[in-house]
């Protein structure tokens, strides 16, 4: 017997008032490796975890420069990200051409959000399968935005997207009040700590799998010629920041019940409960 699942066409609401295609697009974002963003009074920074498809493969690109004053980190479909970042670059250049002014960051984010919204409403389209964190500097100071394929955008003090990003959010929520007055080095350290929370148990942050994006004045580890412009740090230059990380406090048993906690403590070889994050698990 045919049963309508209300998910083959994004212009059709389900009886519960949901657009399933849009929710699947949000799942695509969750499948991408994590990206973290945070902001102080002087800087806005991005940190991202780069995946590699194997020992012989290179690591994926997680960050893109949009203009001197704007950069993004992505989670989800890289190819969709390239389309959208290209659009953002066009907007940035259009602003330079017409007004000789760097495009205001909030307008850039609104522009892609509007573009994404169209794909959730028009027949025969699909939503973008990618989410962005956008950092930028304009005359109102440093900014951090999240863009999601549902067509929304929000400004944040600190935020994370992608696989296991909830763990990073928990860290950020615990510490964000101290971010405003952080210098760049402390801000990056907090970012790395948050990003570390998204790793699988046997993994750690290395110079190969981590990328750092910065807007704001040069830090003490950067060259004297560095301007406030957006820059992406990858490879050996980030070693110095990884060194500053403090050991992760030994996780106290956080299992839901004392019984389960003692069970997992006595059986460390048990599979990590969060392994399911790596797969699509749409419940219906």
């Amino acid at each position: 017997m045919f049963r309508n699942t209300y998910d083959s066409d994004n212009t059709v609401f389900s009886p519960q008032g949901r657009l399933h295609q849009v929710e699947y697009a949000l799942e695509a974002v969750k499948q991408g490796s994590a990206a973290v963003g945070l902001r102080s009074k002087t800087h806005a920074i991005l940190l991202a975890l780069k995946r590699s498809s194997g020992e012989l493969a290179s690591y994926q690109q997680k960050m893109f420069r949009i203009d001197d004053h704007v950069g993004i980190a992505i989670a989800g479909l890289t190819s969709d990200a390239r389309v959208l970042s290209n659009f953002m670059r066009q907007q940035a250049m259009g602003s330079k051409m017409v007004f000789n002014r760097p495009v205001p960051v909030n307008r850039l984010v609104s522009a892609i959000a509007d573009k994404a919204q169209v794909n959730t409403q028009e027949y025969g389209r699909r939503p973008y399968g990618v989410g962005f964190l956008v950092v930028g500097l304009d005359h109102t100071g440093p900014h951090l935005y999240e863009f999601s394929p549902s067509g929304t955008s929000f400004e944040y003090f600190a935020v994370s997207i992608g696989a296991r990003s909830q763990s990073a959010k928990t860290y950020l929520e615990k510490h964000f009040e101290s971010f405003a007055d952080c210098d760049l080095e402390d801000l990056i350290r907090h970012g790395l700590h948050a990003l570390r929370e998204t790793l699988q148990q046997d993994k750690e942050l290395t110079i190969n799998n981590t990328a750092i994006g910065i807007v704001g004045p040069a830090g003490v580890h950067e060259g004297t010629g560095t301007s406030v412009d957006f820059r992406i740090l990858e490879g050996p230059p980030i070693e110095v920041y990884l060194q500053t990380m403090q050991l992760k406090e030994v996780p106290p048993p956080t299992a839901p019940t004392p019984a389960a906690a003692s069970a997992s403590a006595s059986a460390p070889a048990a599979p990590p409960p969060a392994a399911g994050d790596e797969d699509v698990q749409m419940s219906e």
Binding site: R65, R89, M93, K96, M97, G225, S227
Partner: protein, 252 residues
């Protein structure tokens, strides 16, 4: 007999989309440096519009473009070149090499073959092999690499002087000491400054200010004689260095 052509071919008054805004530009390549210079006067007819309108623009850490002719076309052209270079940076995460910029400029100029940018371009900088280079263009894109070139209002005054002082035309070398292929930076700067002070004396459209961009190859430093003139260093990420030296020219 009176001129009948106006009757046979009635001429209609038509909007002229061009103007000539005066000024002169000049570039000289050394072995491991290039100097690109231009005056800062902008004029139309006998009127000075402004005493400071730059005609020389830094494009990358090792490329500088001087633009002379119709000012509106010049500014728009520079803006478009800069945007093309920005797209190149997005795609390749590095600056476009000088010889590639030269070919890009030829393509962009020729694309307007039937409604040309009324500008004479001189591109100077450092090639990938570390040598100083000058490329000069006509308004529709013909170009070549040269050692030196003057263009603009006082081209006819300055170029012969350069032919003599840079290429040693009409000079016979002393026995056993042939003419050098490249001059050192202090000599080149003297020639540039003399070129512009002379052009200012003899040409009404040249004067007010002089801006000289100096591009140094990777690992080179300014000779003391030039450092003493206190040029302003522009921030650059690469090994090449770019300096600007400003001077006053007569304002009459």
């Amino acid at each position: 007999m009176p001129d009948m052509s106006a009757i046979v071919n009635p001429q209609q008054r038509q909007f002229n989309p061009y103007a000539e805004n005066g000024g002169t530009i000049l570039a000289i390549a050394g072995a491991d440096f290039t100097v690109i210079a231009g005056d800062t006067r902008q004029s139309e007819g006998y009127s000075i519009q402004t005493r400071y309108a730059p005609k020389v623009f830094r494009l990358t850490d090792r490329a500088v473009l001087a633009v002379n002719g119709f000012a509106a076309d010049g500014n728009m052209f520079v803006k478009k070149v800069k945007q093309r270079l920005e797209w190149y940076r997005h795609a390749h995460a590095k600056d476009m090499p000088l010889r590639a910029i030269a070919r890009l400029i030829q393509t962009m100029l020729y694309a307007q073959r039937f409604f040309p940018y009324y500008v004479y371009n001189i591109l100077g900088g450092i090639e990938e092999d570390g040598t100083g280079a000058v490329y000069s263009f006509d308004p529709v894109g013909s170009y070549e690499r040269e050692t030196c070139r003057a263009a603009g209002a006082a081209q006819s005054l300055v170029q012969p002087f350069l032919d003599n002082q840079i290429y040693f035309k009409n000079q016979t070398a002393a026995q056993g000491s042939p003419h050098p292929a490249h001059l050192p930076l202090p000599d080149v700067l003297s020639i540039v400054i003399d070129s512009f002070t002379s052009a200012t004396e003899r040409h009404i459209e040249v004067g007010d200010g002089l801006e000289m961009y100096i591009v140094l190859a990777r690992g080179r430093t300014l000779p003391d004689a030039v450092a003493g003139l206190r040029p302003q260093e522009l921030p650059s990420a690469g090994g090449e260095k770019v300096f600007v030296l400003k001077r006053d020219l007569k304002k009459d």
